[in-house]
């Protein structure tokens, strides 16, 4: 007759067949763990090459342009230069640290700023080091003037992203998963950017402003991280495209899947 097995957890010794059963179950679970770990790790979408140089603080020198969103213009020579979008620490824009530094407007001043680079797809951003007192030095005034070129009215489809995360801090830095973070960042003053994917696989990025060239952070929050259509007019300002619109009227959510990267 078969022995009547009974397992009691607090007894020291188990019968052979119980021990064998434990071995088999452990082995099976091991196989499941290995299989699932491989399958799920493999099936993640590719993370982009975007870069946040966390831990590396460098110093940049250039001209501060406050409107519509703070940027640092670095001139290589008379014609060539780069407009670097400035950002605060965490989920804040650059207006906060710059405002902390000085009551008067720093617009148009030459500055030396310490901070951390963020870059991807030809765009460069710079997180100002949180130790404000030591990270920004105001040099003399240098009258650099950026020219804005109007490009006419346009209707575009894309997704409103927060550029800090998209261009390097987070992966994914767009879409549904990232949405609540994007809302937090844009609410905190990080400039809203419309990301448009072209049919040839390239992407365009536009800073969104209102008809008076003022920031629209609060007005676009409900549209962040969703496919949208925006009607407005386009202008080129240094390295960046600027999209002028009236968010309350001219942004519409599209019933579509977001396709980015």
């Amino acid at each position: 007759m078969k022995k009547d097995e009974f397992y009691i957890g607090y007894r020291k010794s188990n019968s052979k067949s119980i021990n064998q059963f434990i071995k088999r179950v452990t082995l099976l679970l091991g196989v499941i763990v290995i299989f699932i770990a491989f399958l799920w790790a493999f099936s993640q979408p590719k993370a982009p090459e975007s870069k946040f140089e966390l831990g590396s603080v460098i110093e940049l020198q250039g001209t501060l342009m406050m409107a519509p969103y703070p940027m640092l213009r670095i001139n290589h020579n008379e014609q060539v230069g780069k407009d670097i979008l400035l950002l605060g620490f965490g989920k804040f824009g650059a207006n906060k640290p710059l405002g902390q530094l000085s009551e008067q407007s720093l617009d148009g001043k030459q500055l030396k700023i310490k901070g951390t680079l963020i870059y991807y797809d030809g765009k460069t951003l710079f997180q100002i080091d949180p130790d404000i007192a030591n990270s920004i030095k105001v040099l003399q005034h240098k009258g650099y003037k950026r020219i804005s070129e109007d490009m006419g009215s346009i209707t575009l489809e894309g997704e409103i992203i927060d550029p800090k995360c998209y261009f390097g801090v987070m992966k994914p830095g767009h879409g549904k998963i990232h949405r609540s973070c994007g809302v937090r960042c844009i609410a905190g003053g990080i400039p809203p950017v419309l990301l448009v994917s072209n049919s040839d696989g390239t992407q365009d990025y536009m800073l969104i402003v209102d008809e008076n060239n003022e920031p629209v952070n609060q007005q676009v929050l409900e549209f962040v991280g969703k496919p949208v259509q925006i009607k407005g007019s386009l202008a080129q300002l240094g390295d960046w495209l600027i999209l002028k619109t009236t968010p309350e009227k001219n942004i519409e959510t599209l019933n579509k899947k977001s396709k980015v990267y």
Partner: protein, 342 residues
């Protein structure tokens, strides 16, 4: 056994269980991370941690939910049930790491409080595609937290058994919330078919096990018919020596034990965590619970000294080889002379 909660019984079985658990969890995290870094080197460390621990937690949740019905279908799986609470607490820890990193990554260092941000950064509560899926994960995590905290026997003795049981049934609510969290969240965007399909298979597997176990129990739970309060249970030779036969009388399960030429009947429900005593065995003269080994003297319905748990006993009568149980339970711990047979 009521003294035991003061000192968790650390013994060899538990150690082996915990070692296997730890090794398997590490194996998952290490494999998931190495594969990710090899094929997807641009992944950020935060995303890796969030994903590795989130997927580990949901995998463990499936295993936890499978153990209950598996051990009702095949008593060998009781080996896994014995230390299930460590599995539960470890799963909570994995989910907690996932949730905490997500909260920090997506909501901290901003212009509002982290929790305020969790609930308000996405306000599309009436949309299916845009639903704020993180909130679902948060509620699931809170349920798992309460369960992890109250899993210690201390709470079992300080909460009523009903309350404790209800609390631990909430694991199914947590499971539903987590599945919605995943299907309304990550998968809307990260449209990898494998995660969805594996979880769908997991869901079907868990449901099928529960249905199979319920069918098995249902057969037994058809209330037996009464004749003046006496219910026919079975014949003496249907009960194996030192084992029990379970019948359901007025929706209460009752276990009739056969041992040393005697028959005794007690409630089927263990005082520890409602374990099925009728699936236990008489060991050293005591009914021994299959789940964690609490013991009861069969004729008294009492745990042997120094323990103090008591169970209702039932009166029995024999007609030939037919065993009848009286539907009226005796007081907890009331001695009933065992019925001799043969």
């Amino acid at each position: 056994m009521s003294l035991s909660y003061k000192m968790i019984l650390w013994n060899k079985q538990k150690k082996v269980y915990d070692i296997i658990l730890f090794v398997l969890m590490m194996l998952y995290i290490v494999l998931f991370s190495s594969v990710t870094f090899v094929i997807n080197p641009n992944t950020t460390i935060e995303t890796l941690i969030i994903r590795a621990f989130g997927t580990l937690a949901i995998l463990m949740l499936h295993i936890i939910l499978a153990i209950g019905p598996l051990s009702r279908l095949n008593s060998k799986f009781l080996v896994l049930l014995y230390n299930r609470r460590h599995l539960g607490v470890s799963m909570f820890l994995a989910a907690f790491i996932h949730g905490a990193f997500s909260l920090i990554q997506f909501h901290s260092l901003g212009n509002t409080n982290v929790f305020y941000s969790l609930f308000t950064s996405n306000l599309d509560y009436f949309s299916l595609i845009d639903f704020p899926f993180q909130v679902l994960g948060f509620f699931a995590l809170m349920i798992l937290l309460v369960m992890a905290v109250t899993s210690h026997d201390f709470w079992l003795h300080n909460l009523s058994p009903k309350m404790w049981k209800t609390l631990h049934m909430m694991v199914y609510l947590a499971y539903a919330l987590v599945m919605l969290h995943v299907f309304l969240g990550a998968f809307q965007q990260e449209s990898s078919p494998f995660i969805q399909e594996v979880l769908l298979v997991g869901f079907i597997f868990i449901s099928a096990l529960h249905i199979a176990a319920a069918i098995k129990e249902k057969k037994r739970d058809i209330n037996s018919l009464s004749n003046d309060g006496w219910h026919y249970a079975c014949n003496v030779d249907q009960i194996p020596e030192k084992r029990a036969f379970v019948i359901s009388i007025k929706d209460e399960r009752v276990a009739i034990f056969k041992y040393d030429g005697k028959l005794s009947t007690i409630s089927n429900v263990c005082k520890h965590q409602n374990g099925p005593l009728g699936e236990g065995k008489i060991v050293d003269g005591c009914v021994t619970c299959p789940w964690h080994g609490y013991q009861y003297l069969p004729a008294e319905g009492k745990a042997p000294a120094p323990f103090t748990e008591t169970l209702p006993t039932y009166n029995l009568k024999l007609e030939g080889v037919k065993i009848f149980v009286h539907e009226h339970p005796n007081a907890e711990g009331e001695y009933v002379e065992p019925l001799k047979w043969g």
